[in-house]
């Protein structure tokens, strides 16, 4: 049986509508207007043990809400979910001992104390055996390179260091399912990579199931073979990373290199010119048109080199988000 099964899960919120102006505010004393927000709008998926799945989507897509539903933090409006055989929102202690949730930029460790002390508290709350605890702590600190930081008050750590500590705290009780909500948000590239590599390696060793949300492509590409794309509360795609381009990209990139004796021709009629660095030009051509364009180009010009490739994944996904959501989404800010 799959480890995580979600069926027709939905969560709708009532959001208070605040109106401008003094009279409206006074009216608000007596009557309030609400509108409905469908944060998660009937989603289905299942995840097997040991899988590393990414939940990708623009802001407000419903990624965090889905994770919170799976953690039992919120109740769904309708639908069902089963994680490790438990219904999350019943919040059974048995379930809570078996999974962990890490939220990017949110800190559960005691601020003024060294992380060490918070870890000890974790040990007591999760009732972890001492030797198991010591062993696991040692291996996690070694893998994440945080030995020297254990004794420092958490408030003195950098964001990246704190995130690493949060990860350790989450894994100390040996969860079978790890839920990560934007774990690398706000971190610099080096810190992001450290965490990605750690997760990859540790998951390999321990074989727990990981469900990770992000809007950074780098996280996804580094860790997950399977991607679920969610936007406006609905699942748009559930499959491999490479499949996305095949599914969603209507264009391919054709790069032609002319011999330098010729003048640069105008190629707009074949497709949008993406780059022009004589003697090379890259144009974006509709998939279905590619064979025709290629044969036309080969007929009309003397070409030294031709390449046909897919559009970059980030672009495809970004375009997909842009067309689905009506609000402008936050641009990808990878240094990529």
């Amino acid at each position: 049986m799959s480890e995580i099964i979600v069926q027709n899960l939905a969560k709708t919120y009532q959001v208070y509508q605040k109106k401008e102006g003094l009279m409206a505010a006074a009216r608000g004393l007596f009557k309030r207007e609400y509108r409905e927000v469908h944060a998660v709008d009937g989603i289905d998926f299942s995840i097997e043990k040991g899988e590393l799945v990414a939940f990708l989507g623009p802001n407000g897509a419903g990624k965090t809400t889905t994770l919170k539903l799976l953690s039992g933090l919120i109740y769904p409006t309708h639908g069902s979910a089963s994680v490790l055989g438990h219904t999350p929102w019943l919040r059974e202690n048995a379930y809570r001992r078996r999974f962990a949730l890490v939220m990017g930029q949110k800190n559960q460790l005691w601020w003024d104390l060294p992380a060490q002390e918070s870890f000890r508290l974790h040990k007591e709350i999760y009732a972890v055996e001492s030797d198991e605890f010591d062993k696991r702590l040692a291996s996690l600190t070694a893998l994440l390179n945080t030995e020297k930081l254990l004794g420092q008050p958490v408030r003195e750590l950098s964001l990246g260091e704190r995130m690493r500590m949060e990860l350790i705290a989450a894994l100390l009780h040996g969860p079978e399912v790890l839920l990560l909500d934007e774990p690398t948000i706000g971190l610099d590239v080096v810190a992001q990579r450290t965490i990605q590599e750690f997760l990859k390696q540790y998951q390999q060793e321990q074989q727990f199931t990981v469900l990770l949300t992000s809007h950074y492509m780098k996280d996804v590409a580094a860790l997950c073979k399977r991607v679920i794309i969610i936007a406006q509360g609905k699942i748009l795609y559930d499959g491999s990373l490479s499949g996305i381009v095949d599914r969603f990209s209507r264009h391919k990139l054709v790069t032609v290199q002319f011999s330098d004796t010729q003048d640069m021709p105008v190629l707009e009629r074949f497709g949008q010119v993406m780059r022009s660095e004589p003697p090379r030009i890259q144009i974006q051509v509709e998939r279905t048109e590619v064979p025709k364009v290629l044969s036309t180009l080969l007929d009309q010009y003397v070409l030294e080199d031709v390449t046909v490739e897919d559009r970059p994944l980030e672009e495809v996904i970004a375009e997909m988000f842009a067309t689905v959501t009506t609000d402008p989404h936050r641009p990808e800010d990878d240094t990529g």
């Binding site: 919040r91 962990a100 949110k106």
Partner: protein, 277 residues
């Protein structure tokens, strides 16, 4: 150990609490100035109350059966109870609305441990406990002046009643804290708390007459705020006024308060979980 075995392990609540105690102490010791300031603030409050009542007792002989030294024993009892509440519970309750605001409450809900336990007891302010010394001193001084000799039974009963009083106050504080789930920005638990406990600040038998009696019945038999300090103080320092039947009401009401406050707290968490995004 396989997963099934692990998933049935329960935490030792005592050990978890000890870790809270230790962590809080370590944390507080790093803020030494704060320790002294806390000591000073509570003492100042108490001193101003003492000055006031010294002045009052210059002008009057007794307050409804409480002479000067009985009254100071009453005040000392109040101080003991308030110190206990502030040491063990207050910081957590004021923290609660902040946790809701930042969304950090979620972390508490993820842990395989009773949420009320975790939220009520996590942070302990040991520095406030220092007031107990002063209060204890005042209590023994007043008892001495009254010529009261007490035995083990009286002292145990007194401490027992203090425990009952603390649980009543805790229940009320829990309900006020739970309210922050619905009330958005909570102005500050301190202020609400002040208004609620103002009734316990004076002996229960000042609540007489057309104005006082309704309050007396409401706040003795329903939510026994009036009894919190009065019963323990009377049992030790003012036996003329002490009423054992009322003591039984006190104990029963406190159990009801603990039970009801837990229900309200759990309801608040459910509310939080429905609305949280």
């Amino acid at each position: 150990m396989n997963f099934l075995e692990r998933s049935t392990k329960r935490p030792s609540y005592w050990r978890v609490w000890l870790t809270f105690a230790r962590n809080s102490l370590v944390r507080e010791m790093s803020f030494r100035a704060n320790f002294l300031i806390t000591l000073a603030t509570r003492l100042l409050w108490f001193c101003s109350m003492m000055i006031f009542f010294k002045v009052v007792f210059l002008k009057t002989r007794q307050i409804n059966g409480w002479g000067e030294h009985e009254y100071f024993a009453f005040m000392a009892t109040g101080m003991i109870i308030n110190s206990l509440i502030e040491t063990f519970f207050m910081a957590n309750c004021t923290n609660f609305s902040e946790q809701i605001r930042t969304g950090n409450l979620d972390f508490a809900l993820l842990k395989p441990i009773d949420a009320q336990f975790l939220i009520s007891l996590e942070k302990i302010e040991w520095s406030v406990l220092s007031n107990l010394l002063f209060a204890g001193g005042l209590l023994f001084f007043s008892l001495h002046k009254l010529g009261i000799h007490f035995g083990i039974t009286e002292m145990l009963a007194y401490l027992g009643f203090i425990g009952v009083g603390v649980s009543v106050f805790y229940s009320i504080m829990l309900v006020l804290t739970s309210a922050s789930v619905w009330m958005g920005r909570n102005r500050g638990l301190h202020e609400f708390w002040f208004y609620v406990t103002v009734f316990s600040r004076y002996p229960r038998n000042i609540y007489q007459g057309s104005l006082g009696l309704p309050i007396y019945y409401l706040l003795s038999y329903c939510i026994p705020i009036l009894l919190v300090v009065s019963i323990p103080a009377e049992s030790l320092a003012n036996r003329k006024v002490y009423d054992p039947h009322l003591a039984i009401v006190f104990i029963c009401a406190s159990l009801a308060c603990l039970f009801i406050s837990r229900l309200i707290f759990n309801y608040a968490l459910t509310s939080y979980r429905s609305a949280s995004s």
